[in-house]
């Protein structure tokens, strides 16, 4: 479309229609189209889009009993949806005002326990009823139409011409024979790509430096303390008990790999105790301490069965035998739990004799090398 007057500075005027669009506009004049019924225009347009209306099952006759029923039904459903939506608003706004307070109270039932369910019920029903109403409308009041649309294969003309344009452009650029440009382009691309992802290098940290995976906060002379920080004497625990202990360093009870299980063996367990080779002196009398971090996937092992001497990990059911140096006897774990060497200091409190002698927690590629 263009204006009548195109000189710069002119104020233009009303639009003058430009050349016709082409295609169907050539076949049908506006007068012809104006003479056609709406339904015919619809079908004509569909025809041009490759769609044929095969069959129309008309909606219920206007004024008929069925139509009235359907309209009432759909109207009711929508109205009900609105009712629930407003109910949602009432419950949401009114709680704490003219309805009881919604804040949680330690009660067995009461409004604080009903608030969220009521919100869900109201919103859920409101939304669902809207959807149901819409579907009922299509099923009962809209005409049922069956249409067919043609699928077209790709156009050979388009392929050939598009290909010619692409290849022609490439050919005109002369890049095929200008090797210096293509090669320098390749070099540039490599460098640019590398440069753009290089900042991600800030994420890389060396896991072997200082062996953080293989060491913990435990060291010679570090006291064993409970979660609240109090140190532990032999005798504090009964035979057949397990206590979770942490190193007495700042933040010791937040260290992810330092949690240790201090176990006091019963006489029967002590009698059949077979520690791992070279670790017989890690125990202190009937006290043994093992890392709480499972060597399979790192969950805290925790479930101590004092009669069967097994420690069960709840994540994947690995079982470690406390009387065999916490060797895995069932389940997917392959390595025994590391044992913490125990000692007692001058004041009679438990201390570690050294750090664990192997890496705590799940196995990794070079665990045995560091």
């Amino acid at each position: 479309m263009s204006t009548r007057d195109t000189r710069p500075g002119s104020t233009g005027g009303a639009d003058v229609p430009g050349p016709l669009y082409g295609g169907p506009d050539d076949d049908y004049t506006p007068e012809q189209l104006a003479a056609m019924s709406r339904e015919d225009l619809d079908r004509l347009g569909a025809h041009y889009d490759g769609v044929e209306i095969l069959h129309v099952d008309p909606g219920p006759a206007p004024g008929s009993v069925m139509e009235k029923r359907a309209v009432r039904q759909v109207g009711l459903v929508f109205a009900l949806a609105g009712v629930f939506a407003f109910l949602f608003v009432v419950v949401y706004v009114g709680s704490g005002w003219f309805l009881p307070d919604w804040h949680w109270q330690i009660t067995e039932s009461g409004w604080s326990a009903l608030f969220t369910p009521l919100l869900g019920l109201c919103m859920g029903l409101a939304m669902a009823l809207v959807g149901i109403g819409l579907v009922l409308f299509t099923k009962k009041l809209l005409p049922h139409e069956t249409a067919v649309q043609d699928k077209h294969d790709g156009s050979h003309f388009d392929r050939v011409t598009a290909g010619a344009t692409l290849v022609g452009g490439y050919h005109n650029s002369g890049l095929a024979r200008r090797k210096l440009i293509t090669r320098s382009l390749g070099f540039m691309a490599g460098g640019l790509g590398l440069m753009l992802i290089m900042p991600l290098g800030g994420l890389i940290k060396n896991p072997n430096k200082g062996d953080p995976l293989g060491t913990t906060e435990w060291a010679k002379g570090v006291r064993l303390v409970r979660n609240d920080g109090t140190p532990i004497r032999p005798g504090d625990q009964q035979p057949g008990s397990l206590e979770t202990v942490f190193p007495a360093v700042p933040g010791g009870n937040r260290q992810a790999d330092a949690a240790t299980m201090l176990i006091r063996l019963r006489p029967e367990q002590l009698a059949e105790n077979k520690p791992r080779q070279g670790q017989a002196d890690f125990a202190y009398g009937e006290y043994v301490a093992f890392s709480k971090i499972c060597t399979h996937a790192g969950c805290p092992v925790s479930l101590y069965e004092q009669e069967t001497s097994r420690i069960l990990c709840p994540c994947h059911q690995s079982q470690f035998d406390v009387t065999q140096g916490a060797k895995p006897v069932f389940g997917p774990a392959a390595r025994p739990l590391p044992q913490l060497p125990l000692d007692v200091d001058d004041e009679g409190y438990f201390v570690a004799a050294s750090d664990y002698i192997e890496a705590v927690g799940p196995t990794y590629w070079n665990r045995e090398r560091i």
Partner: protein
């Protein structure tokens, strides 16, 4: 009915019409609009499964945005001081604290949290059901391999969204999962420790991981997902939806409803129904009550710890895999954990993504297909799929083996062994069973085509023999056998499938028609063929175009 004209023939008379014309003046949208409105979509119920996934994604976007207004993705230690008394005074991370505040101190906050989490579970479930439909009907075949790969990619991304999402509140349940993720990263040979240190910024647990999960969860993956969903839908619209074989349906057309108004109305209805289901669950059924789990502490764990259902298969594979560490020379180890997690998941999704190409190579079928296949007609694919599904479900059950052991009083150790043995022997058994069932169903179809439908009418021949009268489906040859070929569409198996029964009387609670009237109507229809009754046209299959079934009753 002719449209009234004012100035020019066809010029609009209403305000809306004029507005439309103004718009088209500026941006020529009319061709695109008409084309889009006229697009035909087949409306089989199983084609709506992908929409459930799409709409739950939209719900996730909306509810998730709300949650970001209240969530603090920081691992800084704070002392909880809110409404929930059993945690008052406990040191927790700021992330956990903000999750508790949202649940107990924000009006409707708990409802929104639960809505979001239920919608997430539904999202993945819908993707899986949709994937199963695509697989078993062969919709992934050429030209739709790209869409299949996009879909599998989106499934993996959805799983990642779920994991990063439920780990954000930093509670004891998801924290246990975080520890296992750390162990899985560590278990990768050669680069495992480097990967772990890159992701966690050092040794477990560090101070960054929740913040990093947050940005992955609210920005990176949703952006990728939106782009992929857009691409997936674009390709679908461009290639047009597949359809089941049936009357009038060919490889070169699509039969169904036009987008406007029927299909759009139904799709919009489904949006609201999905939203409704999510909202109902979000309010009525409690999910992820983080206040009961407590804050994450690496020295604590609970019995019955499981990840969300869609990661359950990995939990199961980890539980049943034997303790097979591989010790290499030079003191290197490939940990046992590597195989049931990284390798199983990697293999599963790789095979899934490449399946169209694998099938194409094995069957040699390189043609384009727009008609779907009934699962029984491709017994090998259906059996392979059933086998894979059995494998997946068995792993998922193994992931809950401690719950099963406790609730059903079975030994936990026995459950582990059941898992280990079952995973090896069950899939082949399922394959064989499914294959036989498919063949049986195929045979039944052919039998009906050949011998007709059993009518249940017994007749005695003069010779004294009793026979059952069969209703042939089409022309019969000299031996009395049907000559119709199987067309890939369901074969009518009962007399009322071919219109032998009176159509349903209209009226849901009470009838609105007289049965006698309907009988009369049908009698007249059979006797004459009124002009213009296209529905009575016979298609090449010899059956009426709408397969002779009674019209969908209006109720």
């Amino acid at each position: 009915m002719a449209a009234r004209t004012t100035h020019a023939p066809g010029a609009p008379t209403t305000r809306l019409g004029q507005a439309g014309y103004e718009l088209d003046d500026r941006i020529i949208v009319a061709p695109w609009l008409r084309r889009t409105l006229n697009k035909v979509y087949p409306d089989h119920w199983s084609f709506l499964l992908g929409e459930i996934a799409l709409y739950s994604f939209i719900i996730l976007l909306l509810s998730g945005t709300y949650l970001t207004f209240f969530f603090d993705a920081s691992m800084r230690e704070v002392v909880y001081d809110g409404s929930y008394a059993p945690l008052r005074g406990v040191e927790v991370s700021a992330a956990y604290d903000s999750a508790l505040r949202l649940s107990f101190d924000v009006r409707g906050g708990l409802f929104m949290r639960q809505l979001h989490h239920w919608a997430a579970l539904l999202f993945v479930a819908a993707i899986v059901v949709h994937l199963l439909r695509i697989f078993f009907t062969g919709a992934f075949r050429r030209p739709r391999e790209t869409n299949w790969i996009l879909g599998v990619t989106m499934l993996v991304l959805a799983l990642l969204m779920g994991v990063t999402g439920y780990s954000l509140p930093d509670d004891l349940l998801s924290g246990t999962g975080l520890r296992i993720i750390s162990a899985i990263l560590l278990s990768v040979p050669v680069i495992g420790t480097w990967a772990h240190f890159a992701v966690f910024n050092g040794d477990y647990v560090g101070e960054q991981i929740i913040g990093r999960f947050y940005i992955v969860h609210v920005l990176l993956i949703p952006a990728i997902l939106l782009a992929l969903i857009g691409l997936h839908l674009l390709i679908l619209v461009k290639q047009k939806h597949t359809q089941f074989p049936g009357a009038g349906r060919t490889e070169h057309n699509v039969v169904g409803n036009r987008l406007f108004p029927t299909f759009a109305a139904k799709a919009t209805g489904l949006v609201f129904v999905v939203f409704g289901v999510c909202a109902l669950l979000g309010g009525l059924v409690q999910i992820n009550p983080v206040w009961l789990w407590g804050p994450y502490n690496p020295a604590q764990v609970s019995a019955f710890s499981q990840p969300d259902w869609y990661i359950g298969f990995l939990d199961g594979s980890t539980r049943i895999f034997p303790p097979w560490d591989i010790n290499l020379p030079g003191d290197y180890t490939i940990p046992a954990l590597f195989w049931p997690t990284v390798v199983v998941a990697g293999l599963m999704f790789t095979v899934l993504a490449l399946y169209p190409i694998i099938e194409r190579k094995l069957t040699g079928d390189t043609a384009s297909h727009h008609l779907l296949q009934r699962p029984r007609d491709v017994p090998v694919r259906t059996s392979v799929g059933a086998m894979a599904l059995a494998f997946y479900l068995w792993l998922m059950i193994a992931g809950g083996n401690d719950v099963i052991a406790d609730k059903f009083d079975i030994s936990l150790n026995a459950m582990t062994w059941v898992g280990r043995i079952g995973i090896v022997i069950l899939p082949p058994i399922v394959y064989v069973l499914t294959y036989r069932i498919c063949l049986g169903l195929q045979q039944h179809d052919r039998e009906i085509l050949e011998h007709g439908i059993e009518t249940g009418v017994i007749r005695r021949l003069p010779s004294g023999e009793f026979i059952e009268v069969h209703q042939p489906l089409g022309p019969v040859d000299s031996h009395g056998h049907g000559t119709l070929a199987y067309g890939g569409a369901p074969v009518p198996k009962r007399m009322n499938h071919i219109g032998a029964a009176r159509r349903a009387i209209r009226g849901f609670f009470k009838p609105v028609e007289e049965p006698a009237q309907v009988d009369l109507e049908q009698l007249n229809e059979i006797r004459e063929f009124p002009a213009g009754e296209e529905s009575r046209e016979l298609s090449p299959s010899g059956r009426p175009a709408d397969s002779g079934r009674p019209q969908e009753p209006r109720d």
